[in-house]
Structures are given as structure tokens and as C-alpha cells.
């Protein structure tokens, strides 16, 4: 029914008008690229999404992966999809030229990910995992590991995974219990269980390469004893043949959504023949894994934004074509009904979706730009963008995940009863998106990361850089009389954020970690709204600039839409910070104080 999943016009706006991706080509590392090439890449991504991924979106949900005789069977099209990803260079888009990659700016490559995820999130997840895990081997593995695994992964032949979670180690990774016994053969004997492993086993790849958190026998307790291993499903023999590596798939999950991608339970070493190879140094595993984890968190934010994007366009299409009711004040029952997009409340629901989708995509592109800057700058500048990325990662993961679910719910609501039925895709987006506040660190984990770690890190330097970035945007927006009011409101909100943050830091000092972190999720929500308000002001600056240049009717509508979404965000979303700030400065720390027995009845 739906025919669109992204706005190419909006992608152009963000890349060229808001974030000026072309400016990157002024740096050596990206000097071989130009706008024409970026546009070609983007066009190819949209084509792949439209021709191959999007048509399979529904079918991959209806025909779920199955575990048959210990083998996971996925949709038969997955082989072709992975092949096209590999052949199109999509698995190596940010890999340097000297490793046969395309060395594209992250800003462009990440937007391509967004396009794929909007077309078919499950299908893209396989590729994302292979990219992240091969990058991990590239960064921290030996030459030997690199040569054995990475080319096959980048060729799309071998699937990569991140294997962290265990039955007794979910949010608490320090309790990882999978063990590695050293041998004198250069490998370790692995034994244990992993659960919730995305793309953890399937028949569309010849092999599966797990990047696995494991404790070496005798390692210190807690996170300091975790090491990173490569544990393949089949280990390559000396002659290149693949030998079973005693990694059994003991189950797959039946999930609410995200059904195109299998999530597996793995059992290693049941036959005492599971081998793993250490990546980097012993006991540094969590640090290494956090490279992939941070990429994956941004990827989750992107995935949530992508689903909310596709859902938005489906709701928009329906709202334009569905005729129902009349405007308030139209009393004549014989007058023709209007398209529901004419109703103020439907416009409000669509604006919420637009504001969340385009605001989140703006933030994610901002993050991609910081990644790019780290590749082309050094010294203090590099450090600054690294800190900005650090502090924004929990926000870029959680805001789209939480608000993406609400946005999709509003999209479903635009369709009324039809939104609840599977003749339309909204119910699937609603199911699919619910994974995002959970995987790669729940919203609770992100809240503690932001408030307990990132805000405080390096004597608050990351936070100070963040405040500076917003202040720069505020100062620029104040130059334009149409934006000055919004800039003033963001300035006030930012001042209040700093007050609230100081209050929280004082709580940490006086009342300890538990009280301090009790409302970390609310702090994250609060911080997120202000961050997206910043992104909307940035977009407002670009839109106003374009409007002043006297654009054509079609562009005028587009920029006017940006200004409406900005007004929506400042009118409907930013005021939510008032209640959150009130709560975050309230002294009633009931959740820290309350005993579990008060839930008895």
C-alpha cells in the first residue's frame, strides 16, 4: 500500500544545506570525493531499497526464520540481499581505499544505512552486524585474524555478530560466565551460553563469526576480566575447508517484531571442541567491544528513525487520500468530506512524526559529522569531537528509540481501525520498533551512561563542549528575527539544563550514587528534547536562508514545512522540559527509598 519510506529531498537538505558534507572534501582524507559522487551513491542506495529491500519488508515478517534440525532457515531472499550489499560495496563504504573500501564520509554512508533500514530494517541488520564486527577485527585483531576473517565477511560470505548477552548477564555484563581455557595451539577452548544473538545463525551465510565476550580462566571478577574472542561457527582449516566449531544453536526467539532477522541462543563447547581466538590483549574485551557497541547504539537510533520515517510516509499517504468528516464549523451534512490531513488533530499527529523523524535524523547526521571530523582532524579538535560523540551517543540511541515508538503509534492512530490491521504496514512498524529501547543497552542503561558517566567525564568537558555547540547555534539564530524567539527559548532551556545538571551533581556528592541515578532516564529524556530542539534550530537556520533566496513553489513548500515542524517542536515538545526539570529538582527520592515490600498486596 505504502510507496515511500524516506524523503530524498530531506536527505539533500540535511547533507548539503544543514551539515555541508561537501566541506569534508576539503580535507585530504575525503579529497577524492565530490557532491556528484555522493549523489550517485545516495541514488543507488534508494534504488536498492526500492527495488529489493522494501518489497520484502512485509513478507520477511510473515515468513519468520525457523529452526529446523539445528539449522536456522531465513527468508530465501536473504542470500540475494547480502550478495547485493557486498557487490554494491555497501559492506565497505567507510573502509579506507587501501583496504579496498570506498572511504566514504560517515555522513553519506550512515544516510545510506538509514535508507536501507527504512526500506527493511531486518534485512539491513545482517549487514550492519557484519560491518561492525569486521571493523572490530580490523581495529584490534592480529594480522592473521584479519586475513582469515575480514575479507570473507566483507565479501558477504560470512556473517558477523556481537555475542555479549548470557542468561545471567544481560544489562550486567560483568557477570559474563562463558569461559576460555588457553591451549598451547594458539587458540582457547570456549565453553558457555550466549542468548539474544542477532543474526546469530542462518543459512544465508556460509559461516558465522561471533565477536564474543568471554572470561579467560583465572581472570579477575567483573568487567576487568572480560576478553574479546573471535568464535566462528565453522573454523577454517589450514587448507581453507570449514570445520564445525561446536557452536550449537539451541533455540531462536519468537518475537513481537523485527522478525526478518533471527535472534539465536548459542551453546559453545558442548562437545569440548569449541575454539576461540583472542582479539588484542586479554581483559580488554569490554573496551574493544565498546567501539562496536557505540557504533551499534548509533545504529539503533538510526534504525528507529528509519522505521519512524517509513511509518510517517505511510501515514501521510493515507491521510492525504482518506476522506472523512468535515471541518469544525461546517454544519452542512451534505457538504463533501475532506481528506483527513485537513483536520488539525491529524496535522498535529503528522507534525509529531515529522518533527521526531527529521529531528532525529538531523542529530544522527550531526553525530556522523563528528565521526568524520575525528578522521580528518587531530589534537584538541579531534578530542573535542570525540567527547561530543561520547555525550551524544546515549541520546542518539534513546531519543529516536523512545520517540520513534510514540511517533509510529501516532502514525497508526492516523489510520484509525485500519492502522490496527495488517492490510497496512503501521502495525508492523509498531511491533518492529519496540525492540529499540531494549537492544544494545536499554533506555535505563543509556540514562545511567549519560548522567553517571558522560556528563561527568573529564571534569565535565564533554558537557561543556555540548553547551558550546548549542550556544553557537543560538547565537547564529538570533541574527534572524524570525528565529530569534526560538533561539531565546532554547537559550532559556539550556540555562535550565545547566542548573538541573548542577543540582544532579550536587545530589551525587551529597546523597550518593543511588539517589543521583534514580531518575537518570528522566534526565536522558530531558536532555534529548533539548538536543532535538537544537537540531530543529539548526534546520531552521538553513530553511530561513533558503527561503530568503526566493525558491520555487515546490521548495517553498518544503522549507515552509521545516518552519512548521520547528514551530511544532518548540510549541509542543520543548514545553515538556518544564515538568521534567521540576521532577529532576524535586527532593522526594521515593524510588531510591522505597522497599520492594510496598508492591505487596
Amino acid at each position: 500500500m505504502a510507496t515511500r519510506f524516506v524523503s530524498e529531498r530531506n536527505i539533500q537538505f540535511l547533507l548539503y544545506e544543514v551539515f555541508d558534507v561537501e566541506s569534508l572534501t576539503g580535507y585530504d582524507y575525503y579529497s577524492q570525493h565530490n557532491r556528484k559522487m555522493f549523489d550517485m551513491v545516495l541514488k543507488e542506495a534508494v534504488k536498492l531499497g526500492k527495488d529489493l529491500l522494501f518489497p520484502l519488508f512485509e513478507e520477511m515478517d510473515r515468513k519468520q526464520p525457523e529452526l529446523v534440525g539445528g539449522e536456522v532457515k531465513v527468508h530465501p531472499s536473504m542470500k540475494k540481499i547480502i550478495k547485493e550489499f557486498a557487490e554494491g560495496g555497501w559492506l565497505t563504504s567507510t573502509v579506507p581505499f587501501d583496504q579496498d573500501g570506498e572511504q566514504l564520509p560517515n555522513m553519506v554512508a550512515d544516510i545510506c544505512e538509514f535508507i536501507f533500514a527504512a526500506a527493511n530494517y531486518s534485512a539491513n541488520a545482517y549487514a550492519g552486524l557484519t560491518k561492525g564486527s569486521s571493523h572490530l577485527i580490523e581495529c584490534f585483531g592480529s594480522k592473521d585474524l584479519y586475513e582469515t576473517y575480514v575479507p570473507n565477511m566483507r565479501a558477504g560470505k560470512w556473517q558477523g555478530t556481537m555475542a555479549l548477552t548470557e542468561p545471567e548477564a544481560g544489562s550486567s555484563l560483568s557477570d559474563v560466565a562463558t569461559t576460555a581455557e588457553p591451549t598451547d595451539q594458539g587458540y582457547y577452548a570456549i565453553r558457555g551460553q550466549k542468548i539474544f544473538i542477532s543474526a546469530g545463525d542462518h543459512d544465508a551465510a556460509e559461516n558465522v563469526v561471533h565477536l564474543m565476550l568471554v572470561k579467560i580462566a583465572g581472570a579477575p571478577a567483573g568487567v576487568k576480566g572480560i576478553s574479546l574472542f573471535v568464535v566462528p561457527k565453522y573454523r577454517p582449516g589450514a587448507d581453507g575447508t570449514l570445520v564445525s566449531n561446536d557452536v550449537a544453536t539451541s533455540g531462536i526467539y519468537h518475537k513481537l517484531g523485527y522478525r526478518g532477522c533471527p535472534i539465536a541462543q548459542l551453546s559453545m563447547g558442548d562437545k569440548n571442541d569449541c575454539r576461540g581466538w583472542l582479539v588484542g590483549e586479554p581483559h580488554q574485551g569490554l573496551k574493544y567491544m565498546f567501539q562496536m557497541m557505540n557504533e551499534a547504539r548509533i545504529g539503533v537510533g538510526m534504525g528507529a528513525t528509519a522505521m519512524a520515517s517509513a511509518a510517517y510516509y505511510a501515514a501521510l499517504e493515507y491521510s492525504r487520500s482518506r476522506q472523512q468528516g468535515r471541518k469544525p464549523g461546517q454544519k452542512d451534512p451534505n457538504s463533501p468530506p475532506v481528506a483527513i490531513i485537513e483536520h488539525a488533530d491529524v496535522k498535529r499527529m503528522l507534525l509529531l512524526q515529522k518533527a521526531v523523524v527529521e529531528g532525529s535524523l538531523s542529530l544522527l547526521t550531526q553525530c556522523s559529522k563528528y565521526v568524520d571530523y575525528q578522521k580528518v582532524l587531530d589534537g584538541e579538535n579531534r578530542q573535542k569531537y570525540n567527547l561530543l560523540l561520547e555525550i551524544l551517543t546515549p541520546v542518539a540511541k534513546s531519543y529516536p528509540s523512545e520517540m520513534g515508538n510514540l511517533a509510529i503509534s501516532q502514525g497508526l492512530q492516523c489510520l484509525g481501525g485500519s492502522g490496527y490491521c495488517d492490510d497496512y504496514p503501521l502495525e508492523q512498524y509498531y511491533r518492529d520498533c519496540r525492540i529499540h529501547p531494549i537492544h544494545e543497552g536499554t533506555t535505563g542503561v543509556q540514562g545511567m551512561d549519560l548522567l553517571g558517566r558522560k556528563v561527568m567525564m573529564q571534569q565535565g568537558q564533554a558537557f561543556a563542549h555540548y553547551v558550546n555547540e548549542l550556544q553557537e547555534t543560538i547565537a547564529a539564530a538570533k541574527q534572524d528575527s524570525e528565529l530569534a524567539g526560538f533561539a531565546g527559548r532554547l537559550e532559556q532551556a539550556l540555562d535550565r539544563l545547566q542548573e538541573v545538571t548542577r543540582h544532579q551533581v550536587a545530589v551525587a556528592e551529597k546523597q550518593g550514587a543511588e539517589v543521583f541515578l534514580a531518575d537518570a532516564v528522566l534526565y536522558l529524556e530531558y536532555f534529548g528534547i533539548i538536543t532535538i530542539a537544537w537540531q530543529w534550530l539548526l534546520q531552521g537556520i538553513a530553511a530561513r536562508k533558503a527561503l530568503e533566496s526566493g525558491p520555487k513553489k515546490k521548495d517553498r513548500d518544503f522549507y515552509a514545512g521545516k518552519m512548521y515542524a520547528l514551530r511544532y517542536f518548540y510549541g509542543y515538545e520543548l514545553p515538556k522540559t518544564e515538568g521534567l526539570a521540576a521532577r529532576l529538582t524535586d527532593d522526594d527520592k521515593l524510588t531510591a527509598e522505597m522497599g520492594a515490600e510496598a508492591f505487596n498486596d
Copy 2:
């Protein structure tokens, strides 16, 4: 996995300690009842829920209704369930003694509905529809119609429905196009289509009796031309045999949830042989239907509360048993993990659920009490409680529907990845509950009903009564030093609500209906939060009274839990009204002003 779906202790608290249902037995109409009987009824309801309904909750989702050769097959247990409902007197619990009913107070009967819906919403929906539609015939139908249909419906043999929606008449009922041509045989010839008809056809009943909105040929356009008809699937012949009445089931929907109950598309008169019988006067159909609709709206709020209740107890059970992580500040990785209910953020998520479930159930019981008062009082008092019920109906429908979805989402979140999988019931509650903001009038429709009709009705009398009710509770709470602070905050919020309402009324006068109603959904949300804050203060008064009487440890925990939930609501939910009030007094009426072309890109 989960073993509970309601708290019997909380039901006792609401019925006896907060709302004093026993006081009703002082009125003639309820004088035959006493507490012992109420307790027996409640115990029977819980037993039926536990023994029959709850064990089928998951299975009825997995084995969905099917349309086979024009016949809808539902879960084979539905026959038994309907039989037990009928034999247990559950279809006639509020029917007067002189019609062989139990004449129970609505407060008790509605709590029984809550129990059934919490055990298995889909199964209870069949019964709810039969009760509502037979009541409609009882109130407005002829003696003949009553005798032909009502006894069979109340015996559970015939299913009742409400048949309103059509392909081109969803939220806009004025566009109903199903027609009735009068004949000289006492019936009308019906022709048309109805869609989204819950329990609209199935093989667990011998017949289906549709209470249908239809336009008599030549009727005025719009809602003034709508009449109410009884249109059975099989019409009873003179000898009592059933003859097919040309009502064809043209399809059933595949839905996100609520799968135990079939939702049908019906086609009437394809063979020119569909007969309908007028209920009451011509062109009064919508007025009559609103009796059932208002009951159904309260029923939806109850259903949403019930699902959120069952989800809450499932999440609570998991949070008590699942061990994961350590308290902040506990640095020793060798220390044992704690149950996740010990984590402040999990307590916050559980408190949100508790506050929504118990706050909503309190409001719904308040509404039931108003229904009871209308049965036992007359004159001005009766009118007062009627107005209170009118103004609270959109709130009692929407607050639980909207917040129930968020509460269940938080319940799912408590389980992390397990919440996303169908080994646990949370994902089903999440799917099931999403229907509630849609059916029986969307949240958008409820917003317009509250702000556009109820707040203004009879020169604002309903609103004035509402303010009085809250003020009485505030005054009572101020007598207790432990509650005075909360009472003061509700008083402030109520003052602000009155200001905001005056502002809205001024907008209606100066800027017209479209601008006035543009943010009606936000007004509904705002009004809802304040209403539930009132209900929590009422519960606080009862809890404090009990705590002062020196209760036993078990009761002390229960009442302490009430006080924590009250603190949660005033600390975390009530502050949300600040942002909403800011928005509702903001002059930027962008959604009324914006043209649809600004969504172009």
C-alpha cells in the same frame, strides 16, 4: 508464566474503603444486598477468571478466528465461556430483579467486568457486547422486540453487537449510508455494508443480533437522519425457527492484537432479503446508540485498565524473581546480584504501572458510583451525577487507553529482551491494548467531546460539578498534615485548569471552532492527569485513615504502597500538566493554520 491478573486486595480497598459501596444498600433499590453477598460475587468472578478465562488468554491469541466458507470459526472454548457467563448470571448482573437479573450495584458489576477483562479481554468482549445491546433493546425497543431478542441474548444463546462503522463512515457517523426501505409488513428492507464489527459473526452463538445504525429512505442528511434497527443474522420465524436474514460476512480482519474476538465486515441485502426492525422512533438512532456507546466507552477504559493490570502483575512477578546487576555504589563484582525490583529505575517503571492501573480503576469505580447514584437518587442530585458522568466519560475512556499502552510498554521494558518475546505475556498485552485509543471513538474524538461538548454543556454546569468534587476532596485531604501538601498541589493544578479552560472558551468565541478544538487531545490529556491526581488523593485519604488505625504488617505494606504511588503520581505525572498548560495557552495555532502542502517534499 504469570499467575496473577488483578489484586483482590486493591478491589476491596476501592469498593469498601474509598467508595463505600456498602452505603448503597441504604437505598431501597439496593437494600437486598450486603457486603457478604458482594464478596461472594467478587470471589466467583475471580474464580471464573482464574479457572476458565486466564488459561485461554494466550491460546486464543495464537489460534485466531478464521473465516471458512462464509462462516467465522472462533476458539472452540468460546461456547463454554459464553455458557458459563450466562449460567453464572454475569450477563444480567445489573438487570433488575423483575427481569430476572441480579440488580447488583454497577460498582460491583463493573469490577467483575474488570476481573474478566484482565483475565482475558477478548473473551469478555463477546459478553460485554451482548449486555450492552440487550440493554439498548430493553430501554428503547418495543415489547415485541424485547421478548423476541432479549431473553435469548441474556441466555447467552444469541450474540449482540453494535454495528455503526461503514467504509465511508468511521469517525464521521453522519455519513452512514446503509439504508432501510419501509415495507407494509412491519419490518424494513436493509441494504448496505458495515465494517469493524466486534463479534460480528461467529460459531459460538446460534444467532447474532446487530444493533445497527441505518438511514430510512428519505431521512434528513447527517446525524439527524440516523435510526436504530435490530438486524439479526437469522430472523426468528413465527414458529420459532431461524431463517437466514441475508447478512453476509464478507471478511474478517487480521489484527495486531485483540485476536480472540473476530472483527467482521458485513454485507446486508445482497439478495434483497435483509430485514430490520426499528428500535424506538425514527431518526433518534444516534441518541439511543449513545447509551450503549457511553457504556462501551467506559468499558474500553475498563478493558485498558484490566490489560494494564495483568501486565503490571506479570512485570512485578518477573522483577521480583529476576536477578541482575548490583546497586550503584556496590563496587565488588563478586557480590551477589540483586533482584531487579531493587533497582530504582525498575521501581519507577513499576510505580508508573501501579499508579496508572490503580488510579484508572479508581476513576472507573467513581464513574460506576455515579451510575448507581442515578439509579437511587432523583431530581437535582440525579442530574448532577448524570453531568459528572457525562464529563468524565471521555476521560475514563481515554486516560486508561493512552496511559495503559505506556504502562504496558514499561512493563515490557522491565523484562528487557524477554519482554519482546512471546515466552512472556507482555508482548501480547502490548499488542492487545493498542486497540483502545481507537475503538468506540478515537482519542481525537474523545478530545473534541470533552472540550467541544462536555465542558461547555448546560452553561458549564458539568465542569462546575467536576470542580466541586475535586474541591471537596482537597478540603478533606487538607485536614491531614501528611496529605496537605498533595492537596495544595492539586488545588494549584485545579486553579490552573480553570484558567486554561477559560482561555480555551475565549479562543472558541474569538477564533472559532477550528482553532478552539485544534489541541483538544492535549486538553483531554491535561484534564486526565488532574482527574487521576484527584483519584490518588482520594485513595490517599483512605490509606492514611487505615494507617492511623494501626494495621497489621501486611496491610501496612499495602497502604504504604498506596502512599508511594500517590507520591509517584504527584512527583512524576502531575508535573506534566505544566508543559501542557503552557501549550494550551500558547497563541501559535499552527495546526489550524498550516496547509497540507507543507507536508510535501
